[in-house]
Amino acid sequence: MISCIVNNKTVETGVNPGISVLEFVREELNLTGTKEGCKEGECGACTVLVGELHENGTVKYKACASCLLPLGEIDGRHIVTVEGLDSSLLRPVQKAVFNNNASQCGFCTPGIVLSLTGFLLTSESFGFNDALDALDGNICRCTGYASIRKAAEELSIIFKDKKGSVEKENRVEQLIDWEVLPEYFRSIGGRLENMIYSPSNISMFNENKVLIAGGTDLLVQKPEGLLAEDLVFASKLDSIELKQIKEANEYLHIGGAVTVEQLRKSEIIHKYFPSLENDLLLVSSTVMRNCATVAGNIVNASPIGDITIILLALNTRLILRKDHSRREVMLDKFYKGYKLMDIGGGEIIEKIVIPLPDETSLFNFEKVSNRKYLDIASCNSAVSIKTDNKTVQEITVSVGGVAPVPLLQNEVGKFLKGKNISTENLIEAGKILTSKISPIDDIRGTAEYKKLLTRQLLYSHFVKLFPDKIKYEEVAG
C-alpha cells in the first residue's frame, strides 16, 4: 500500500509501486495536466513537484520528471501537479508565462510552470541563472525559448525585490504568503507526519530484490521489467547516513542515496571542489539531478558516466554493505568489463569516500557532448593534480567514452609525475594517452573523433589550470 498526498488530496493505492508517477497521475487519477512527452527524462513535460517531510516538520520540495519517478518513491510524500497550484487565481509563475507569451501550443507549459515554481522553492537568491538552470530539462519546440527566458527573468526580478524586504525562514510559508503556492500547502507537513509510512531496513535488501534509487536509469532501461520485481527504494532505507554528505578524518563521505543535485549544492563540496557546482550542471538536467543518485551513476557503469569519471580522478573508494558486513573497493578496481562490477547480489553502496584535497590540489572536469546540456558525453575526463605550480607532484587522470569501462589513465599519470608543467611534456602526455585508448564508433561519435577529442580534453585541463604555463599555439601547431 502506498500513501501519499497528491495536490490537496490524500491518496492510498495498491497499484504496483514500479509504475511511473506519470502513469499514476494520468491513468489512475485523471490528472492530465501532466504530459507525457518522451517517457525518457528528455523533455520535462511530465515535471511535478515532490515534497518530503524533514525532521523539523517542514516540507522540502523539488521538481522531478514524473515519467522516471517510480510510484513507490512517493510513499509518504506530497506530489504537486499543475492542477495542484489551484489556479482559481493566477500564480506569479503563471502570470509571468502569460505576460511574456511563453506558451504557444501549450504542451510543454505545465512542465515549465512547475519547473519555475521549483526554482522559487529552491533558489537561495532568486537569481536569473538559477531560473535558467531550473528550466534546463524542459524542452519547448514552439517558442524558441526567448519568451520563456523573459518569463524567468521577470520572476527573478520580482522575487529578488520581494526578498529584499523580509523573508521568512520557511520558504514554503513565504511562498504561500506571496501566493506562489496555495493555502493548503500549510497543512501538508502535519498531514505527512500523520501518514502511516514504514521505512525499510538495509537488512531487508537481498539478492532477490532490486534496489532502486532515483530510477532514472532503471525506468529507462527496463520499465516493464520492474513491475515483476520486488523493489526496495533507497530513499526509504532508514539509515540517515545514506542521505548525507559529511566530512570526517580527512575524508569526504557521500551516502549511497545522495542525489546529484544534493552533491552539487553541498557546502562541503563548494569548500573543497568549488568548480563542481558548475561542472555538475553538465550532468542531465535539474529534474533528473533531483532524483538521480551518485551511487546510481556508479552502478549504471556507463563508460561515459560523468560522476563516475569525476570520482575516479579523486581516488574514490566505495564502502559496500550487505546486511551487517562491509567491505571496501577502490572505484577503479570496481569495474571488471562492460557493465560488469565487483558487487554481489544484495550488496549496496553505502558510502562513497573521497580523500580531502589540500592547498596544493587542483581539479578540473571536461565534458563534450553534442548538445552542451542534457546530453550524454562523447568524451569526458577529469584530472586532479597536486602541484607546486611548477612540477606535477601527483596526478590522476580519468577518461570516459574510450573503453568498455570508465578508465583511469595511469600511464599518463606515471609519465607526468615529477615533470615540469610545460608544453612539451603535455604534448608527450597527449601522445601516451592516445596510444592507450581504443574508442569505438557509435552515436556519440566516431572512434577517430573520440580519440583525438580525449587528447584535446587533456590539453584543455592544462590550459585551464595553468594558463600561463601552456602555450596553446605550440600545442596545436
Binding site: 512527452g37 517517457k39 497550484l85 501550443c105 534546463d136 524558441g144 548538445r371 546540456y373 583525438l452
Partner: protein
C-alpha cells in the same frame, strides 16, 4: 494582444488527444512495424497476440474494409503492409487491447519472417538505379551554357543536409469514436482535416460524410502532421470494425522511428561570377532523399525547385531536381518545406566563391540581392521587393561591416577561441505551389445575444491562428473580441479544407472569415438602414454602436442583432476565398506560383572553442518582413520559434541512418535546442512600413519564412572554422560539434 489559450495552458486545462478521458471504454491500438529496411514478408502469425490478455483484435491489411492505401499524391503507400516492407517502421499490423500495456505485451507475441532485400539509403545511389518517384524536373532561365565562358570566377561543389525530426511535444495520435449510422468521428492531431477525412473514408470504404474529423488543437506540428494519415486511419478503422472508441497515440520512440522527417538532400552546385562579383550563372541539381513512399515529397521538392536562387538575382540558371526513392522513413513536410535545403545549396556556393575571392560572403550576398522587378527563374517578378530594405534596416541597427571587422580582429588576437559571423538573407514565396489548394471556407454564426461562432479550416497548433481570425472578425464587425469564439476545426462545418500549411493558415482562412463577416455586416446594416430610414451606405457600426449618417444612435450591437433576428435576417454566413492571380504552368515551369514573397535579413555570430571544437551561438539579430502585423506578439513568437528550429537543424539536430537505412538516432540521442542553447542576444525586429497588398489586412505569412534566418548558423560556424584552417571541404549540415572538431583536427 495575448492568446487567451495560454490561460488554459498554464493551468494544465488544455485538452490534447491523449487527455480525452470522458469517453467510456476507450481501447488502445499499438502498431507492429517492420524491423528491416526492405524485405518480403514470408510469414506473419498474429494468433498468439490475438489470444493475449485484454486483446480485442489484431488487424492486418486483410481487414482493411476499403482501400489499403494512404498515399494521396502518388498512391504508393499501403496502410498496412501486404507482401513487402520498405522501411524500418513500415506498419504491418495493429493490435487493439483494453489497455496500452496489454497491447504492448501482445505486440511482442506477433511472429514474422521476412526475407531481407538489399536496401538503398543514399539518394544518389537511388538516382543511379532509376529509383525515382517521378522523372526529374528541369528549369532553364536565360542562357545556361555559353554564359560560363563569360564568368571570371567559377566554383563547384556539393552541399549535403541531413534529416530533421519535428519533435513536436505532442506525438502523433488520434481517437476515433463509432457513432450511429456507421459514422466515425475522429479526434486527430492533424493539420489536414480535409485530407485525413478523404483518406480515412477511402480506407473505410465509406462516403466522406460518414467520417467526421474534429480538431481542437495540436501540441505542435511544424508540418509533421500534415500528410501522413496512418495513425488516424488505423484508429478509425479499428473503431469502426470493433464498434468501440480506439485511441492510437504514438510514444516518442515510435514517433521518432516512424513519422516523416525533413528530407535530407544532396545538391551539386556550380556558380559563376563576373569580375565585379555579380552572379552570372547558377546550376544546381537537387537530389531529394524522399524515403520509402512519396508522401508529400513532390510538393516539397517543387518548393525547393522554385527557391533555388533564394534571395538573389541570377540572370542565368539551370535547376534540376530528382525525388529519389530510398528505404528510410518516408519524409514529408517540415516548416520551410524544401526551401532551407535550397538555400543551403546556394549559400554554400556563395561561401565558396567568397573564399576563392578572399571576401566575407556578405559582400557577395549584398551585391546580388534581388531587387524590385527582377525576375525569379520561374518568370514572376519581385514585387514590393523588400530584400534590400531588410538588409539596410539591419545594417542601420547593427552595422554589419563593423561587426565583421570586429570578428576579424578578434580572430587575429585569439588562439583558444575564434569567432564567426554570417549574414542570412531570406526570400520566401507564399502560397501552396499546388495552386488549387489556395482556397478556404469560413462559416460564421451570429447568435441572438450578439455572440459569434467562427469556424474555418485552419487548425490551431500554437501559432495563434484562431486569435488572428478572431481579431480579423472583430475588426470587420467592430465588436469586442470577447464576443467571438473560434470553434474546433470540423469537417462538418467547413468542408474540403486545405491543410493548415504553407504558412497560409491566417492568409486564407482569415480572409474567408473576413468575407463572411463582411456579408453579415451588410445584412445588419440593411436592418439598421430600415430602422432609421436611410440608405445602407449611411450606416456604420463602430465599437458595437450603430451610427446613422455619421451620428451615434442608441442601437447597440446586441439590439441590432436582436432586431435583425426578428426581421428574419439570416445571421449565418459561409464565405469562400481563393487567392487571386495565381497561375503556374508545370510544362513550361513558368508563371506566378506565389501571391507574394516574405523577406528578411539576419546576422548571426558564434564563438568556437578551438581546443574542443565546441561552439556557442552568441547572437542572432534580425529584421523580418511581416507586412502590417495582425498580432505582433504572435508574430514575434513565430519568428523566434522558427529561427531556433533552424539553428537546431544547422547545428546539433543530427539524425543518423546507417547505409541500410536503419535509424541510429533515438529519443536520447536526438537533441533539439534547449533553453541554454538559445543565443544570449536574440533581437527580433519587424521591417517597418511594409504593408502587403496581397494578404488579409496587409499582413504577411510568418509561419515558415523566418526559419531561413537560422540557416546562417552553419555559415557563421564555418566562418569561424576557416579562421583556423582553410584547406578543407565544407562539412555536411548539421555542423555538429563533432564535425567542427574534425574540421580542425582531421589530418588531410
Amino acid at each position: 494582444m495575448k492568446n487567451s489559450d495560454m490561460l488554459m495552458h498554464i493551468k494544465g486545462k488544455s485538452v490534447f488527444i491523449d487527455d480525452i478521458r470522458d469517453i467510456a471504454n476507450i481501447h488502445h491500438g499499438v502498431i507492429f512495424t517492420s524491423p528491416v529496411p526492405k524485405g518480403i514478408i514470408k510469414k506473419l502469425d498474429v494468433k498468439k497476440a490475438e489470444q493475449a490478455d485484454g486483446v480485442a483484435a489484431v488487424f492486418t491489411y486483410k481487414d482493411v474494409p476499403g482501400e489499403n492505401q494512404i498515399g494521396h499524391i502518388i498512391q504508393d503507400q499501403p496502410l498496412l503492409a501486404e507482401d513487402s516492407v520498405n522501411f524500418v517502421g513500415d506498419p504491418i499490423a495493429l493490435v487493439v487491447a483494453e489497455t496500452r500495456r496489454q497491447a504492448d505485451n501482445a505486440l511482442k507475441l506477433i511472429e514474422i519472417e521476412i526475407e531481407e532485400l538489399e536496401p538503398v539509403s543514399d539518394p544518389r545511389e537511388a538516382y543511379g538505379k532509376g529509383e525515382l518517384l517521378v522523372p526529374p524536373r528541369l528549369m532553364c532561365f536565360g542562357e545556361t551554357d555559353e554564359v560560363w565562358d563569360k564568368c571570371e570566377t567559377i566554383v563547384e561543389g556539393t552541399a549535403e543536409s541531413g534529416a530533421q525530426e519535428h519533435f513536436y511535444l505532442e506525438t502523433q495520435g488520434a481517437l476515433s469514436l463509432p457513432i450511429e449510422d456507421g459514422k466515425v468521428k475522429v479526434f486527430a492531431s492533424s493539420q489536414a482535416p480535409g485530407g485525413f477525412q478523404h483518406t480515412i473514408a477511402e480506407v473505410l470504404g465509406v462516403p466522406m460524410h460518414l467520417v467526421e474529423i474534429d480538431i481542437k488543437r495540436l501540441g505542435g506540428a511544424f508540418g509533421g502532421k500534415e500528410s501522413c494519415a496512418t495513425w488516424a486511419a488505423l484508429s478509425a478503422m479499428a473503431a469502426k470494425i470493433l464498434d468501440v472508441p480506439v485511441k492510437v497515440v504514438l510514444n516518442r520512440k515510435e514517433d521518432i522511428q516512424n513519422s516523416p522527417k525533413r528530407h535530407p538532400y544532396i545538391t551539386d552546385y556550380k556558380l559563376g561570377l563576373d569580375s565585379e562579383g555579380k552572379i552570372l550563372a547558377y546550376e544546381v541539381m537537387l537530389y531529394q532523399n524522399s524515403g520509402a513512399y512519396a508522401d508529400i515529397s513532390l510538393p516539397v521538392l517543387e518548393r525547393s525547385f522554385l527557391h533555388a536562387v533564394s534571395s538573389y538575382k541570377i540572370p542565368n540558371a539551370k535547376i534540376r531536381t530528382a525525388a529519389c526513392r530510398t528505404n528510410i522513413v518516408p519524409n514529408g513536410a517540415f516548416r520551410g518545406f524544401g526551401v532551407p535545403q535550397s538555400v543551403f545549396a546556394i549559400e554554400s556556393a556563395i561561401f565558396k566563391a567568397a573564399e576563392v575571392l578572399g571576401l566575407h560572403p556578405s559582400e557577395l550576398q549584398k551585391k546580388n540581392l534581388i531587387h524590385e522587378a527582377d525576375p525569379f527563374p520561374y518568370g514572376m517578378a519581385a514585387e514590393n521587393c523588400n530584400a534590400e530594405k531588410c538588409w539596410n534596416s539591419l545594417d542601420s541597427k547593427y552595422n554589419i561591416e563593423n561587426r565583421i571587422e570586429y570578428v576579424k580582429e578578434y580572430n587575429e588576437k585569439n588562439v583558444l577561441t575564434k569567432k564567426g559571423i554570417a549574414v542570412q538573407p531570406v526570400c520566401f514565396g507564399v502560397s501552396f505551389t499546388q495552386t488549387a489548394l489556395n482556397q478556404a471556407g469560413a462559416l460564421v454564426h451570429i447568435y441572438t445575444d450578439g455572440s459569434l461562432s467562427v469556424s474555418t479550416g485552419a487548425v490551431e497548433m500554437g501559432q495563434g491562428v484562431n486569435l488572428k481570425i478572431a481579431q480579423i472578425a472583430a475588426e470587420e464587425l467592430s465588436v469586442d473580441l470577447k464576443r467571438i469564439k473560434v470553434e474546433t476545426t470540423n469537417t462538418t462545418r467547413v468542408a474540403n479544407a486545405s491543410p493548415t500549411a504553407a504558412s497560409t493558415g491566417a492568409d486564407l482562412n482569415g480572409m474567408a472569415a473576413k468575407m463572411a463577416c463582411s456579408e453579415l455586416l451588410k445584412r445588419l446594416k440593411k436592418v439598421a438602414a430600415e430602422i432609421f430610414s436611410v440608405k445602407r451606405e449611411k450606416i456604420e457600426i463602430r465599437d458595437e454602436t450603430v451610427y446613422a449618417g455619421g451620428r451615434e444612435t442608441d442601437i447597440t450591437w446586441e439590439k441590432l442583432v436582436n432586431t435583425a433576428y426578428w426581421e428574419k435576417t439570416d445571421l449565418s454566413c459561409h464565405a469562400f476565398y481563393a487567392t487571386p492571380l495565381l497561375k503556374f504552368d508545370r510544362d513550361k515551369e513558368w508563371g506566378r506560383p506565389f501571391a507574394y514573397h516574405a523577406y528578411g535579413t539576419s546576422l548571426i555570430e558564434v564563438t568556437l572553442d578551438c581546443i574542443k571544437g565546441t561552439y556557442k551561438i552568441d547572437s542572432v539579430d534580425l529584421v523580418h518582413d511581416v507586412g502590417n502585423s495582425i498580432n505582433e506578439e504572435l508574430d514575434e513568437g513565430q519568428i523566434e520559434g522558427a529561427v531556433v528550429q533552424a539553428l537546431g537543424w544547422s547545428t546539433i539536430e543530427n539524425m543518423v541512418f546507417d547505409e541500410k537505412g536503419n535509424m541510429l538516432t533515438s529519443t536520447n540521442s536526438y537533441k533539439v535546442p534547449d533553453i541554454k542553447f538559445l543565443p544570449e542576444k536574440f533581437n527580433v525586429h519587424f521591417l517597418e512600413n511594409a504593408p502587403n497588398p496581397y494578404a488579409v489586412s496587409n499582413s504577411k505569412a510568418v509561419g515558415e519564412p523566418p526559419l531561413i534566418h537560422g540557416c546562417g548558423a552553419y555559415f557563421a560556424i564555418l566562418n569561424a572554422l576557416t579562421a583556423v584552417r582553410k584547406d578543407k571541404e565544407m562539412p555536411s549540415l548539421p555542423l555538429t560539434p563533432e564535425k567542427a572538431f574534425m574540421y580542425i583536427y582531421e589530418k588531410e
